[in-house]
């Protein structure tokens, strides 16, 4: 295992770690073969070796050895053993539980989700950490920025989960994510949105519904005002709208789209009455031979006009988009988006960690190398790509690996953010392990198999750690 174990060893020859201060190697002596207690050394007056005997070491180590042995090492052995039995613990099933992990559709979903997590989350966290670390070097309030991004590390994952359940609420009047998205959407989308508006369903109505759109019953010709009366809207939605006006004559095709209802009743059907409101912002198309020849949008008083339309007969159409239900944001907590949504929360928690580690690595990058490259005419991107990133590679690897190990064990965020009904779709191995053994599943054979599976997944990183440690110590 270790090359130093049985060879002569100097008391001062303790391998130098990264943070090791000056250590004076004392003359080498085969001490381990001939241990002497501190008292003995004092007795003959020549302190060959000071310090406690190996027996003292046993005393110093006893509590740690007891806890690690009974709470960590024994459970590893017991779990492997227990995973070979069924839920009752009496019937030996061999590798049956492991077989079920890879055949049961529920556990296959957890494995698929863990794969998504491992592929996506560590990469995004590391890249964001790198970007933030590089950019914060250019601002004066870098410390404040780092504290803000780092803060979620101090918060429990349960609290982070509650925080993001609130962020992801479906109702745009509750969840800030959908509030932002709907605001942006409504700013850029021209659709006024009159869900439910439709023409009257009788033979006198000048417009009818065809394929979801509202179209004029008869072909229209230039110079002749088009009337498109609609009903089916709550009057309150248009109570602030301008009164409808008949389109003035003139060249081209013009007309009016309005709500043909008078509050409190009355009014003439299919005619514009003084109290009736125009419908603003509706997209209107002039269609001839199945092709859209012109588009217009209704003004505040509901009028529209297609200027410069060649003469001919047209059908006037209000496309379906005018009557679509308002955009209500994304269903973050639905089965389709739940894993990306939780990964979003995870990134919020961990990006600061990555940034701080990478920033520390960046501080150690020799400025001369960067400056020399800049003098040679390298662009900032080239400096970043060719010098900064390669010099940071060891730190980036550490951050990435730490994140992979962490992501394999992700539990709290999924458990808290995914509502009960979509937990099967969001499930991950660590959560399934708890669920199957304690959360109502009652199958500790399967639970043990999942725990061992998790351990096997982190084994490569265990080896990575040991190698890295031995290299650092060498």
């Amino acid at each position: 295992m270790t090359e130093r174990l049985d060879g002569p060893q100097a008391p001062g020859g303790i391998p130098a770690g990264a943070s090791t201060g000056p250590s004076e190697p004392l003359p080498a002596e085969p001490l381990l073969a001939e241990p002497r207690s501190a008292g003995a050394a004092h007795a003959d007056g020549i302190p060959h070796r000071l310090g406690p005997s190996p027996k003292a070491a046993a005393l110093f180590l006893a509590p740690a050895v007891l806890l690690l042995g009974a709470w960590v090492i024994y459970p590893i052995i017991y779990s492997i053993y227990r995973s070979l039995f069924d839920s009752s613990g009496n019937r030996f099933v061999g590798l049956g539980n492991y077989g079920s992990i890879f055949t049961d559709s529920a556990t296959l979903t957890t494995i698929r989700n863990n794969v998504i997590w491992v592929v996506v989350a560590p990469l995004i966290v590391t890249v964001l950490g790198l970007i933030f670390a590089v950019l914060t070097e250019r601002i004066r309030w870098a410390t404040a920025f780092k504290l803000i991004l780092f803060m979620p590390m101090a918060v429990s994952l349960l609290a982070a989960g509650v925080i993001f359940r609130l962020v992801y609420e479906q109702d745009p009047d509750k969840g800030v994510a959908n509030a932002v998205i709907t605001t942006v959407h409504d700013t850029f989308s021209s659709s006024a949105g009159y869900p439910g508006a439709r023409p009257r369903e009788n033979d006198q109505a000048p417009a009818v519904i065809r394929g979801g759109a509202v179209v004029t019953r008869q072909q229209v010709q230039p110079g002749q005002p088009v009337l498109i009366p609609l009903v089916g809207l709550n009057q309150d939605t248009v109570k602030d709208a301008a009164p409808a006006k008949a389109a003035s004559g003139g060249d081209g095709v013009g007309g009016t789209v309005w709500l043909d209802v008078v509050r409190g009743g009355g009014g003439t059907l299919n005619q514009i009455d003084p109290q009736e409101k125009g419908l603003a912002g509706i997209t209107v198309e002039a269609v001839s031979g199945g092709a859209v020849k012109a588009t217009a949008e209704t003004a505040a008083d509901g009028t529209f006009r297609f200027a410069g339309l060649p003469s001919g007969t047209y059908e006037v159409r209000l496309p379906q988009s005018n009557f679509a239900a308002p955009f209500n944001g994304l269903s973050w907590l639905g089965p389709a988006l739940i894993t990306p949504a939780i990964i979003g929360a995870y990134i919020w928690v961990w990006a600061g960690f990555a940034m701080v580690l990478i920033a520390a690595g960046l501080a150690a990058v020799p400025r001369d190398a960067l400056e020399a490259a800049r003098i040679d005419g390298a662009t900032e991107w080239q400096v970043f790509r060719r010098i900064t990133v390669p010099l940071l590679a060891p730190v980036l690897l550490v951050v990435f690996v730490t994140m992979v190990i962490n992501v394999l064990k992700v539990f709290d965020l999924v458990f808290i953010i995914a509502p009960g009904s979509v937990q099967p779709q969001a499930n991950v191995i660590a959560l399934e392990m708890w669920r199957v053994s304690f959360g109502g599943g009652g199958n500790q054979g399967m639970g043990s198999a999942l725990a061992v599976f998790l351990l096997v997944l982190v084994l490569p990183f265990m080896i990575f750690n040991i190698r890295r440690f031995r290299r650092d110590e060498a």
């Binding site: 130098a16 770690g17 001490l31 241990p35 960590v72 101090a154 349960l158 609290a159 509750k174 708890w434």
Partner: protein, 297 residues
Amino acid sequence: MTTLTEPAQARGQTIERGLLGRVADRAGSGLVQVLLILVAVFWLVPTLGLLVVSLRGESVNNATGWWTVFTKPAEITFENYGSLLASGFTSSFWNTVLITVPATLLVIGIAAMAAYAFAWIDFRGRDAVFLVVVALLVVPIQIGLIPIAKMYGFLGIFGSIAGVVLFHVAYGLPFAIFLLRNFFVGIPRELLEAARMDGAEEWRIFATVVFPLAKPAIASLGIFQFLWVWNDLLIALVFADTENQPMTKALQSQMRQFGTNMDILAPGAFLSLIIPLVLFFAFQRFFVQGLLAGSVK
């Protein structure tokens, strides 16, 4: 080209680039400022949302988004916190304290002793044993849940605070020993030798020489361990019964009714994160140091 002209030319290039670069830098850093401000807002808004929701009445929360509070600050009320404290939540707060404080102190004490042995006492197999500790760094706590639950049942401490504490201590030890041992080996050996020469006992050397020097490392470890234990949900979920449950478990049991009980959940979650946050801001220097020393867990 002679060697004399070269530096001059290089200097000329830097000046030229410097002028151009400064213009580009000015525009670029403006962009960077805006971008990073946006990122900072993005990072602050979720927590701010929780805080505001916890400070508004339930009917107000159901009617309007929390961000409307900026136009209607009169909606702020401490009612939720009042009723939360009047409910049984305070007992789970004390359970969190009763679990976290001993678990933190025990880890520091036990790990310091072990790290002392690994760093300063020569014994057979020391390096091999320490490699085992390094290997245990990444062991997932899931591996311990079922066997330890069985063991606690046998010992009669299942559901108790002691059981939760011991589990935390055991799974905190590998990182703690690793961190402290790496720090201890950096302490100049002459200091210890001098103390030993004076005939000081080992525990005295530890208390008077090692401990004062290792304060930063112990502070890092302390804050880490404190946050892990304070913020843990899974261990509490398995090993703490209802009367001994910490805040995280108490709040988790409220998740099923999410949406209808924000008057309990939001202030509870905020209370649970306020102490770690204060500690974090007070000790963030040590936190970062610990992070740098012990990543890859």
